[in-house]
């Protein structure tokens, strides 16, 4: 079987056997206070505060250059903070580097492998760096290879596609059954199938370990995360469970299309206490941002009827994470 056409197996099942790392302790998995990282005159991180609770699948969301990778590099000891503190399960990442590394699995955004090794060899090597016993590795490695869809691949890693390397990267990050799995942009270079698989792997870890993953892909976060922090220009501009975040930052959107002159209707809508803004969409329909959705849903049809207009379209829904994200990083929500 060629590497490219390797069977990609269901990924959630083996997770129970691989990750047993979430037991014990009530301290946050990650606790960052006032973290600053300066490169010359530029602040990559600017008084960053962040708490990741144990057991959560935490999305670290932000545009390119927001400071996501810098945060992960500090948490893994690859970079040092200019000031502030970062703790992983209560351990200071600057002082207790070995204790922290023992608890963490990490996948960088572009993982570098030894091209001459095979996948199994690399996993065994990674496990031996953690001091995982040989017998334990004998049990764990087939599960991880299955998880990564690399069981039948016989070629050295040098011949792997980017997606295969990324899946192997996730597998090697799990080799020590980590209490905290940190993934830096794990899906950014993958095709839709690869993305789906990696997200499936992450979702399968829910409740078994804490997952902290950075991304700029909003749909990935909506798909698998329970909590999210939005980072912009080195600061966390919002952090909450996703439904709470949407509720907090939502101005609900409605779209209205009527037959007949809508001048009087627009005047009446502008006077409504629940209206935040009124605009006209490209297709000519009215776009309403409302603070009190149930009331707007009752009042709008009544107003349309009062002015004798025909109701052609009236649709709406809750704000998406994308709306919240755009609102926050463009400054509207701050």
């Amino acid at each position: 079987m060629s590497p490219a056409t390797t069977a990609r197996t269901a990924v959630a099942e083996p997770m129970t056997d691989v990750v047993r790392g979430n037991a014990g302790g009530t301290e946050p998995a990650v606790e960052i206070r006032g973290l600053v990282k300066r490169y010359g005159s530029k602040n990559a991180l600017d008084q960053l505060d962040l708490v990741v609770e144990q057991g959560s699948v935490f999305g670290f969301l932000g545009p390119n250059g927001a400071g996501k990778t810098t945060t992960l590099r500090i948490l893994t000891g690859l970079a040092r903070p200019t000031s502030g503190s970062a703790r992983v399960f209560g351990h200071d990442v600057e002082r207790a580097t070995n204790e922290v590394r023992q608890l963490v699995g990490y996948l960088p955004d572009v993982p570098g492998f030894y091209g001459w090794m095979h996948a199994e060899e690399f996993l065994r090597f990674a496990g031996s760096l953690f001091g995982v016993a040989r017998r334990e590795l004998d049990e764990r490695i087939p599960l991880l290879l299955d998880l990564a869809g690399l069981t039948d691949v016989r070629t050295p890693i040098a011949g792997y596609s980017r997606g295969m390397k990324q899946r192997l990267g996730v597998a090697q990050a799990l080799v020590n059954a980590p209490r905290l799995l940190m993934l830096d942009e794990p899906t950014s270079a993958l095709d839709p199938i690869g993305r789906k698989e990696v997200l499936g792997m992450i979702a399968g870890l829910r409740g078994r370990t804490t997952v902290f993953f950075s991304t700029h892909i909003l749909s990935d976060v909506e798909r698998v995360c329970d909590t999210v922090a939005i980072l912009d220009a080195g600061r966390v501009v919002a952090q909450a469970p996703i439904p709470e975040l949407k509720a907090r930052y939502s101005t609900h959107r409605l779209r209205l299309e009527v037959d007949g002159s809508r001048v009087e209707l627009e005047t009446a809508l502008r006077a409504a206490p629940w209206l935040t803004s009124l605009g006209v969409a490209e297709d000519g329909s009215l776009e309403l941002s409302v603070g009190d959705l149930p009331r707007a849903q009752r009042d709008v049809p009544a107003l349309v009827a009062r002015f004798g207009l025909g109701l052609r379209r009236f649709e709406g829904g809750e704000v998406s994470l994308e709306d919240v994200f755009v609102q926050l990083v463009t400054g509207g929500g701050r």
Binding site: G77, T97, P111, Y114, S128, L129, G131, Q172, N176
Partner: protein, 254 residues
Amino acid sequence: MRGFTAFLRKEFAETVRTWRIWVLPGIMLFFGVLGPVTARLTPALLESVAKSQPGVVFKIPPPTWVDSYAQWVKNLSQLGAFAVLIIAAGVIANERRSGTAVLVLTKPLSRAGFVVAKFLSLLALLAFSVFVGAAATWALTLVVFGEAPVAQLAAVSGVWLASGAFIVGVMTLVSALLPSQVAAAGVGLGVFAITGIASLWEPLRRYSPFGLGNALAPLLQGKATHLEWPLVTTALALVVLVGLAAAVFRRVEL
């Protein structure tokens, strides 16, 4: 310590299974073959030059095993040292560039362990390469000249190995400082050019690792040499250089 042992094992496996095992041992093997052949053919070449120029007379004694060993030492001291410097320039820089350092150093392997393992594996490869070259020199010298004393060859090869180890130590430090092999090689060449001039100073030649290279010719000719101090200072320098490399690399952000 577990991480260190695992990483050192990986280093040796990498040496055996990649191009590394062919390059330095190949170069040394080439020198090992070249030395005796050059020693054997040089008088004949000079004679033919003399014949083409009337009035010029060369009086060259017949070559012996000493000439063969001298060629081996000359090749080691010039091109051999250069090859070791270039290869050692990438000892840490290459793992930084390829991103593999990030993957292993986010696991329980200390930066010092990483540096020491890289140094030791390259030192082992250098020792193996010198052995291969010296063995070839010995065998060919015996075939061509009918005589090839082992002790003299072992002595000069061993002393040169010590100076090669010093090059590896210096380049480990430079490679820990700089992120690219080319930059490290450039700086390394500069360092050795300057120290080469400085070694003209007698006390430096007598007491420092720079005395090793100067002792090779007298050692081969059976003259008295004072290698105690250069060997001791080389050993001390290696400890200091690798320690410094570990300290520097600990501060490097990856």
